[in-house]
């Protein structure tokens, strides 16, 4: 037990929690926007792979880091356009299209990677985002290391979460997006375009998912490998449910999740890790996701029109 306490009070643990939470927060915000507008986006896993790949490749080709983030975002929006074109005006099954987009995006990244780097055995590294040195705050004892030695992309993740919450609840656009996920017919009656709002929401959401993926290559690992997203997208889908479709709660969920993830990595080094198989620790995030879904299942806060396609003239 004392080992767990030692871990929990160490500054490096909390720095890791925030680092691990950042891509989850970005992608969860992306999924949340889509779902609040009434579209389940299961393209998330593949879109994160595309973001990780395109962002990294852009920087490897000589673009600045923020240029890589922009490229990832644009690529994500493109796949979001593909997803929403099929699911919104055509109203196709969001399950099937989402999985199709994930398969297509993942395969595209693998294909492009092999095409651009046919010979390499280990992927080349780029110079990733470095921790920002904030005057005074970064030098604080404990807090400086735990909270204020993060990269700019982490700060961006939290800023995005704030922006999403503000836009959804404090702006007419946010009201329209939420309404289109609850009662699209009423939105249409107001003279707004359900199709336009939903496509826009899915594109912006997919852009954020891709930036979440790009965090992995541009801030966390500095190179790209095929299995790097490794189910994070699906975990984010669970986090949206866990957060009851609310940005604030979803961010807390992501941090809680990241805390468990950071803890399991450290527990592997302790006596517990010598007794239990390491695979059990690695499975913990996935087991927790399922538990979170079960725990939240009784909440009736699902957007009413989630997964319900809207066809004008059909009532």
């Amino acid at each position: 037990m004392s080992e767990i306490v030692d871990i929990l009070i160490s500054a490096s643990f909390w720095a890791a929690v925030i680092r691990i939470a950042s891509p989850l927060i970005l992608a969860t915000m992306g999924e949340l926007i889509c779902e609040r507008a009434g579209v389940l986006n299961l393209g998330i896993e593949g879109i994160m792979v595309i973001g990780a790949f395109t962002g990294w490749m852009a920087v490897y080709q000589g673009m600045p880091l923020w240029g890589g983030v922009a490229v990832a975002m644009a690529a994500g929006m493109l796949f979001g356009l593909l997803h929403s074109t099929l699911t919104v005006p055509f109203g196709l099954s969001q399950h099937v299209v989402g999985l199709g987009v994930t398969l297509f995006a993942t395969a595209s990244a693998s294909f492009a990677y092999r095409l651009m780097l046919p010979e390499v055995t280990s992927p080349p590294k780029i110079e990733p985002f470095q921790p920002l040195d904030i005057p005074v705050l970064s030098d604080l004892p404990w807090l400086g290391e735990a909270l204020f030695s993060q990269t700019a992309l982490t700060w961006a993740a939290f800023a995005v979460a704030g922006l999403v919450a503000f836009t959804l609840y404090r702006t007419p656009l946010g009201l329209a997006v939420r309404a289109v996920g609850e009662n699209p017919a009423a939105v249409e009656a107001q003279g707004l375009s359900v199709t336009g709002l939903r496509i826009g929401a899915v594109m912006v959401g997919s852009g954020l998912m891709a930036v979440g993926g790009a965090f992995l290559t541009l801030s966390a690992f500095s190179s790209f490998f095929f299995e790097m997203v490794n189910g994070r997208g699906w975990i984010c889908v669970a986090l949206v449910v866990f957060g009851a479709w609310k940005p604030g709660k979803a961010v807390l969920g992501a941090i809680l999740f990241a805390a468990f993830d950071a803890l399991q990595i450290r527990l592997q080094q302790t006596e517990l890790g010598a007794v239990l198989p390491y695979q059990l620790f690695l499975a913990l995030p996935f087991i927790l996701s399922i538990l979170a879904l079960i725990l939240m299942s009784r909440r009736a806060e699902v957007p009413a029109a989630l997964m319900v396609p809207y066809n004008k003239g059909e009532r």
């Binding site: 399950h95 199709g100 699906w234 399922i290 879904l293 299942s297």
Partner: protein, 347 residues
């Protein structure tokens, strides 16, 4: 734009549009070949020769199709009831584990093959039962739970292969001990590298087709898939139908892993399946969820994968072209199926 249902779609529309989806996929294949700097026609030719050009190639394609028929059937059965089982990958490994547990000496001939097949089906069925009960009892979306279970199962397999199921003679490789000869599926024709798993897969397709077209359960599955509220109103036990569907679907997916171990590999390793569970979704959708169609599309999809491998060695286009084509075909096909039933009108 607006979608308007078509009362009686013509045969040309019902068959022409899906065919057009396949032609469009071919177009994408040629475009990708061009992007990769290869001759598009040569690439298509090399994929075809690689898949069907020799006796060896045909057998390889049929072997590769075997697990895809099982996972394709698993998905087709489930999707027909709008039960989104994306966990065929995990159920496949459940079947593979059972094949090893019962096939390495626990049981002898003649019991081992039939018993381990049934036990494998049971394991896959039970694995899908959890997510389905969560869906029917608590309303938890089964897509996410079955997806998450895939990751948990792969880690469990990795644990087994490095721990209790590790082959002591494996030179440190994480693989299981080999199955005893009695637990192996024999070859259909002596001297030809094709095992009885392929014949069993076709038999399974016929059985599923009979269930779907000739039994009450098949009727109920279709009714629940088309409109669960109406089915419930008509007095159908919707949840019980979903559970039965899940048992059938999970069992079929498990047979994919069981037949790969018992028929092809003879042992379990963590790279047993290069995503057969996920590819099963594509196989099922391309077959329009028809069980006999699954056999055809599984062979087609297997041919693309086998042919792309051969083509890649010759033309230098990355093998991932096969994965891209399959995903493209899936998306084109769902759109084509929709457009057989509705037309797009302005306004």
């Amino acid at each position: 734009m607006r979608l308007e249902p078509i009362a009686n779609p013509s045969a040309a529309r019902r068959l022409g549009l899906p065919a057009l989806a396949l032609v469009a996929t071919l177009g994408v294949a040629m475009a990708l070949a061009l992007v990769a700097g290869a001759n598009p026609f040569a690439v298509l030719g090399q994929i075809a020769t690689g898949a069907l050009g020799s006796k060896l190639a045909v057998l390889e394609t049929l072997n590769r199709a075997t697990p895809l028929i099982f996972t394709g059937l698993a998905v087709a059965v489930a999707f027909r009831a709008k039960l989104w089982n994306i966990g065929a990958e995990a159920q496949l490994y459940a079947g593979a584990i059972v094949a090893v547990v019962l096939g390495t000496g626990a049981l002898g001939s003649p019991l081992v093959l039939p018993v381990s097949a049934l036990a494998a089906m049971l394991a896959g069925a039970v694995l899908l039962l959890g997510p389905v009960l969560l869906k029917t009892r608590l309303g938890v979306d089964e897509v996410v739970t079955t997806l998450l279970l895939n990751f948990i199962m792969l880690l469990f397999v990795s644990y087994l292969l490095e721990g209790p199921m590790k082959d002591p003679l494996g030179m440190g490789w994480p693989k299981s001990p080999a199955l005893i000869p009695e637990a192996r599926l024999p070859r259909i024709v002596e001297g030809l590298r094709l095992h009885w798993g392929f014949a069993l897969a076709i038999l399974a397709a016929v059985i599923v087709w009979v269930i779907q077209t000739r039994t009450t359960l098949g009727f109920e599955i279709r009714a629940v898939g088309q409109n669960p509220e109406a089915a419930r109103f008509a007095g159908m036990p919707v949840n019980a139908v979903l559970v039965k569907t899940a048992l059938l679907s999970g069992g079929l997916a498990a047979l994919a892993g069981w037949s790969e171990v018992a028929g092809l590999k003879g042992h379990l390793s963590s790279d047993l399946s290069p995503g057969f569970g996920y590819t099963g979704i594509i196989v099922a959708m391309l077959a329009l969820l028809h069980p006999l169609g699954v056999v055809v599309t599984a062979i087609f999809v297997a041919g693309i994968f086998v042919g792309s491998g051969a083509m890649s060695r010759a033309a230098g286009v990355p093998t991932y072209i096969a994965d891209m084509l399959m995903a493209t075909a899936l998306l084109f096909m769902v759109l084509a199926i929709l457009l057989t039933r509705v037309r797009v009108v302005r306004g």
